[in-house]
């Protein structure tokens, strides 16, 4: 044995964790402020809407990544969780006249509980059962909403929104800024998970669940925390949607595009890293936003599907994987 002759390895420098977190929040705030300034300078209402579209996917991808990327549990039902958020906001608006911000809180609670419930029923089994359950979840939730007259059934529901919310120049800017803040928070939560013991535990589960349990990792509890957190954030991503569009119907809320993008974006950017979903979401959402002008939306989604398949086959660790050793 040669260990005695090896130099004692230095411990990794004690992590100044607070400073690393501070750096993220300050950096994110700076990027966010810069985005607002640039879009104001452009001064086109379409800019806010396009920006909202991209940021909504940043939140969704970051949310999916918490369970899918770190723990390796695939959620196919992102559209269902997101629509739960949208319709929670609609119901709160209809019943109590709540605006978008309380709607977001309510959406987080309801979608989080939905995640917890689905997880509780299926996560004690192999991961594929959770995936299959989430795959059906969207279909069933859509059935429920279509049959629910209070939220307009299949005709959909309208939301009367204020023309503008001072100090913002337009409602478009307001809802953009709301989504921007949500995106910063969602990515920040993902990053905090990654750096915490929760993240380490989830990674251990992804690598080898049985071994994780054997060395004292409370696997079921961590998975439930992750499902709840992930579901809540997806609900949050959906809550502003009816305010953004002024209208929502089941077909739009349960759109196929959400389910495929939520999986494609983290995997293409680099699942299991906090930055990967951001890269994937910005890249894919921008491409789709640009492409809708020139090609049909079906063709657009078809390309996303192909990108997903090609990436998981040829670059299983995503774009970030090209730059990192592990």
């Amino acid at each position: 044995m040669s260990a005695a002759t090896l130099p004692a390895p230095a411990l990794p420098p004690a992590l100044p964790k607070e400073r690393k977190h501070l750096t993220y929040w300050l950096g994110a705030a700076a990027v966010a402020a810069a985005l607002i300034v640039v879009l104001r300078l452009i001064g086109n209402e379409y800019g806010w809407y396009a920006g909202y579209f991209v940021l909504q996917y940043v939140v969704l991808a970051a949310a999916w990544n918490i369970l899918g990327g770190y723990a390796g549990y695939v959620n196919f039902g992102a559209a269902g969780f997101m629509a739960t958020g949208s319709y929670t906001a609609v119901v709160l608006n209809e019943a109590f006249g709540f605006d978008v911000l309380p709607g977001i809180l309510g959406a987080a609670v309801v979608a989080g509980l939905l995640g917890l419930g689905t997880g509780y029923l299926t996560l004690r089994l192999r991961g594929v059962y959770f995936s299959i359950a989430t795959l059906c979840l969207s279909v069933v939730l859509q059935t429920l909403v279509v049959n629910w007259d209070y939220v307009g059934g299949s005709r959909g529901a309208y939301i009367i929104r204020p023309r503008s919310v001072p100090p913002f120049l337009s409602y478009g800017e307001y809802i953009f800024v709301v989504m921007l803040v949500l995106a910063v928070i969602a990515v920040g939560i993902g990053r905090t998970v990654e750096m915490s013991r929760l993240g380490r535990g989830l990674q251990a589960i992804r690598d080898n669940e049985r071994a994780a349990e054997a060395v004292g990792v409370p696997t079921l509890r961590l998975k439930l925390i992750a499902t709840t957190l992930s579901g809540a954030l997806m609900g949050v991503a959906g809550a502003p949607l009816p305010f953004y569009a002024g209208y929502i119907n089941p077909e739009g809320a349960f759109n196929l595009a959400y389910a495929v993008n939520c999986i494609a974006m983290p995997l293409i950017g680099g699942a299991g890293t906090w930055l990967g979903p951001v890269i994937g979401a910005v890249l894919l959402a921008t491409l789709q936003q640009a492409a809708t002008v020139t090609i049909s939306s079906a063709l657009n989604l078809w390309i996303v599907g192909w990108m997903l398949v090609l990436f998981v086959a040829l670059a299983p660790r995503g774009i970030l994987g090209w730059f990192r050793r592990r």
Partner: protein, 293 residues
């Protein structure tokens, strides 16, 4: 007869016939998911794609949809071989089947669904053979041939599959690959080759199920969505790798779903699938007819 009783009996009979269609759809999955442990969530969309080609070819040549489905099954077998080869090469071999492999089948499912929209448009398609409009009356019970003939074809093809699995060397090897790949290696059989054949068979069954589907109902590219919950619920309920279990579960499921639709309205039928799936997973993950692990 009491009208409620008559409604109930008719509900049960047409539920059983519906179960025949579900058995066709789920039996292929019992091979891929049950025996090979490959979570092919694209199976229902492959069935719908088969249905579209049945409509296309059947209409152009004036052939019976079920005949077309059987004739095109070899093509789907080849398609299945191709799919499995890609899956094995990129995922199974690397040990990446959990996250990336699932995402792969999701991507395939998505590409096929959207591809059908691009090719055929989102509208409903149908191809009704003459017997689709014939209904046999047995007392107060209606037996529509639209449901009976596809169910009979389903039973015949599952019977053939059962015979194949029990009586041929390759079939026995497929059953063995599920339990003990090591034993296969000792028999000098390449497990990858066996799995390729089995997966091809499962996709060929999707073709036959697609033909049955076209006779029973009009289809559109998103039809597969409601079938995902159904076929996985049936497959798990049936005990995964067991064909008799799969058929029993399919009949039971068809009856329950049909009675729900009769008494509560058809729009609640998809919720039945999901409710059953969750119930099975939460209470008896080894299936209704499976043995405890």
């Amino acid at each position: 007869m009491d009208p409620d009783l008559s409604l109930l009996l008719n509900g049960i009979v047409s539920g059983l016939l519906l179960g025949g269609l579900y058995a066709a759809a789920a039996s292929g999955l019992a091979v891929s998911f049950g025996m090979l442990d490959i979570v092919n969530i694209a199976h229902p969309v492959l069935m719908v794609a088969a249905g579209f080609f049945v409509v296309l070819v059947g209409t152009a040549l004036g052939l019976d949809p079920l005949l077309v489905a059987v004739l095109q099954a070899p093509l789907f077998y080849v398609l299945g071989i191709g799919l499995y080869t890609a899956y094995n090469y990129f995922f199974e071999r690397r040990g990446d089947e959990a996250l990336q492999g699932l995402a792969f089948f999701f991507g395939v499912m998505f590409i096929i669904e959207v591809g059908l929209v691009l090719l055929f448009g989102p509208e409903q398609r149908f191809l009704d053979p003459d017997y689709a409009f014939v209904t046999w009356r047995l007392g107060e019970i209606d037996v529509p041939l639209r449901m009976l003939i596809p169910a009979l074809l389903a039973m015949a093809s599952i019977g053939a599959l059962y015979w194949f699995l029990q009586r041929t060397f390759t079939g026995l090897a497929i059953a063995a690959v599920a339990q003990d790949p090591e034993a296969l290696r000792l028999m000098a059989v390449d497990p990858v080759r066996i799995k390729r054949i089995a997966f091809g068979i499962s996709v060929a069954l999707a073709s036959i199920a697609g033909g049955a589907l076209v006779v029973v109902q009009p289809i559109d590219p998103s039809t597969h969505n409601v079938f995902i919950g159904r076929v996985f619920a049936i497959c798990i309920m049936g005990g995964m790798a067991s064909l008799p279990g799969c058929i029993l579960a399919a009949f039971l499921f068809g009856v329950v779903e049909n009675l729900t639709a009769t008494f509560y309205g058809p729009s609640w039928a998809p919720a039945v699938a999901f409710g059953w799936l969750l119930l099975v997973l939460a209470v008896r993950p080894q299936g209704l007819f499976g043995r405890a692990a």
